[in-house]
Amino acid sequence: MAVMNTLNIAHTGLKTAAYGIEVTAQNVNNASTEGYVRRRVVQQPRAPTRGNRGVYRGSGVAVTSVNRSIDRNVVARTLEALGDEAQARASHESLQVLETGFREGDLSSLADRFDQFFDSLSELTMEPADYGLRQSVLNAGEAFAGSLNRAAQATVDTVADIESRIEDEIGDINETLEAIQALDRQISESDAVQGPADLLDHRDALMEQVAQKIGVDIEYKANGQVNLFVGGHAIVQDVHIRELTVSGSAGSLEVQLSVDASVVTVTGLIGGELGGLVAARSVAQDTGDSLNTFAEDFADAFNTQHALGYDRTSAVGGDFFTFGGSAAISFALDTSLAADSDLVAVAGAPSAEVGDGDNLTALLAVEESLLFDGGTKASRDFISSVYSDLGSEVRGFEIDAETYAAAYSDLNSLKTAISAVDLDDEAVNLIRYQASYEAAARVVSVADEMFETLMRM
């Protein structure tokens, strides 16, 4: 009966319009929700029915799905850029802290302390036996050793801080991977029409966290699940996860991935913040190694020359500087010498003449000796190169962070353009669905009048 069919059709129209208003309301109210992807109602005519005499008759409208406005390719590229930016930023921020340990521009910097030590030796040439000047040399030597210790300690502290952060983060990342795994299960089991939009939003937010932490490649599957890869190794695949672990000792901590019965080291493959921390650790260790090289080679050269001189007691000079395992951290004035300035061996002969400073000239020449980089660099140039190498690395990471941030910003704008709620759009949708609802209601009203007409007959 045509009137009944009209009523049914109007009913589907009312339902569809009401659903549209509901989805619009959901969009409007989540307009500022972080990670919320706008929903779109997909509707289409219901399948027609074949009536008498073979005539096909419409049966109204139906909501086939509620789609999330998303471009997976854009999402994948955005997360990739997010990982790159997080990696460069983490490196930059970690090494910025290390830079402060070098106190550039401060008179207590390693470079300035080194200058002050040799200046004190130059001043001693005026009065080689003067107690005050000899004591000044010891004080300047201690200050120089202290600044070297401080700079070296800063590299060690940076490495320790980085490794501590890596250990802390790994646990969080594994928990996030487990949450993604659980969501993937729910997504694959969810209702097809309603769609697991909220679950997908939540999973996207978690994937963003993982991308930011370790940098991931994403592979979307037809059933809505995702596979995540780090450096070519799957960490989430077919609703299974591979946990990240940390092993090794301090200074050589490695990030590993449990693959079946074996483990794969992925320290050099991870990106994101952890990858940035690993890169910063490498720079900090290189800087520390350079300082150790400096401490060992400089102390050896200076001690060798010091041993060719004679102290105030006419004895041959002993060690001026000492160092232990971590040369730059343990670098110090010899304890006996530090306690007795008479032991500074500046005389060229064991005559104990007060003005004999022949060995001083030779000690001063150590400053200019080409001790480093295969005999091409003097001590002072080597220190400057440690500064500039560290500065270049930090600046490089800063530029990378700015570049990747711009790339991420562009991609995120694109992602937002596709996925974010626009209140103007929703206002138009609201008007449209309201109009549809009113129109469908009017059809019901007309059908009702048709019924009444029939009933009065």
């Binding site: 307009a31 500022s32 090494l95 910025q96 830079e99 402060t100 070098f102 550039e104 521009g105 470079a111 300035d112 200058d115 200046d119 130059s122 001043e123 040439t125 005026m126 009065e127 080689p128 005559s351 003449e353 007060v354 003005g355 004999d356 400073g357 022949d358 000239t361 001063l364 002072r380 140039d381 220190i383 400057s384 500064y387 500039s388 190498d389 560290l390 500065g391 270049s392 690395e393 930090v394 600046r395 800063e398 941030a405 910003s409 995120n412 704008s413 694109l414 937002t416 353009a417 596709i418 974010a420 709620v421 626009d422 209140l423 103007d424 759009d425 929703e426 206002a427 609201l430 008007i431």
Partner: protein, 292 residues
């Protein structure tokens, strides 16, 4: 490509823009507050080595200048001592020439011997001249008298030197045995003169004149030699001071921020920041919902 712009994307853009402006404002503020454009190696890694070299050279010049200044003071004292020695020796020569004359009798020569003795004492005092507790003619053994009461040299034949420039040293003490008693021992000459005067020995007095002449030549040579040393010390001090001025300028160019430029940039950034904030505030009123 036309993007669909949303309220969300506009706000994101403003957030990114304000963060970027804020970061640059932080840097500019740091330059203004410290007055330096390089506060850490990463601020300009390429300039760090150059800046360190300038700072090192500047620090060296300060020491060179101090050492050179002290050496100059010591040289001035030595110069005065040498001139007094020359004067005393000249007086000794005049005394010798006067009493070598046949007209003087033994008692007059005996009186002259007392004066010769006194001149010798003056020579000894001058040969033991001190500068800041150091005996300037004692070589590197300057903590003890250069000559004892007999006129015997007690000092060292090595001369102390101080650094006044790169690979440049000047003497800060002198070998008295070479400088004052090199070819003729002035003390022996005066002692011989006293002996000859007491003995009324004109031939001996005449012989003493020759010895005194040799001693005078030693002192004259020493004055010339000291002049060279003083010149080197003076040049070194002048060079250090000039270098310090140049290096201070170079350091300022490398290190110091252009505060006017930085302040101008800060004003620009503040304007941008305020404009961004104002644009963000306007977003509240531009929606279609507010017109429904």
């Amino acid at each position: 490509m036309i993007f669909r712009t949303t309220w969300h994307s506009r706000m994101d853009f403003m957030s990114v823009a304000s963060n970027r402006i804020g970061a640059e404002m932080g840097k500019v503020n740091e330059q203004i507050s410290t007055g330096k454009k390089i506060n850490r190696p990463s601020d300009d890694p390429g300039l760090i080595s150059q800046l360190h070299s300038v700072r090192e050279a500047l620090s060296n010049q300060e020491v060179y200048s101090r050492n050179g200044g002290q050496a100059e003071q010591l040289h001035n004292v030595v110069d005065v001592a040498l001139k007094d020695l020359h004067l005393t020796l000249s007086e000794s020569r005049e005394l010798s020439v006067q009493f070598a004359n046949e007209h003087y009798n033994p008692s007059q020569r005996a009186e002259a011997a007392t004066e010769a003795d006194s001149l010798r004492d003056r020579l000894l005092t001058l040969a033991n001249t001190q500068f800041a507790d150091r005996y300037v003619f004692a070589g590197t053994a300057y903590d003890a008298q250069a000559f004892d009461s007999t006129g015997t040299y007690q000092g060292s034949t090595d001369e102390p030197e101080t650094v006044v420039g790169k690979d440049l040293t000047v003497a800060t003490g002198f070998d008295g045995s070479d400088m004052l008693t090199g070819s003729s021992d002035m003390f022996t000459a005066l002692e011989d003169l006293t002996t000859a005067l007491l003995a009324d020995d004109t031939a001996g007095i005449t012989a003493a004149i020759d010895q005194i002449d040799d001693a005078l030549r030693d002192v004259e040579n020493a004055i010339v030699s000291l002049g060279g040393e003083m010149g080197r010390a003076g040049d070194a001090v002048d060079l250090s001071e000039n270098m310090s001025v140049e290096l201070t300028g170079a350091k300022a160019n490398l290190e110091e921020a252009n505060v006017v430029e930085a302040y101008t940039r800060l004003v620009q950034l503040q304007t941008n920041f305020e404009a961004t904030m104002a644009a963000a505030a306007m977003q509240r009123y531009s929606g279609l919902f507010s017109r429904l």
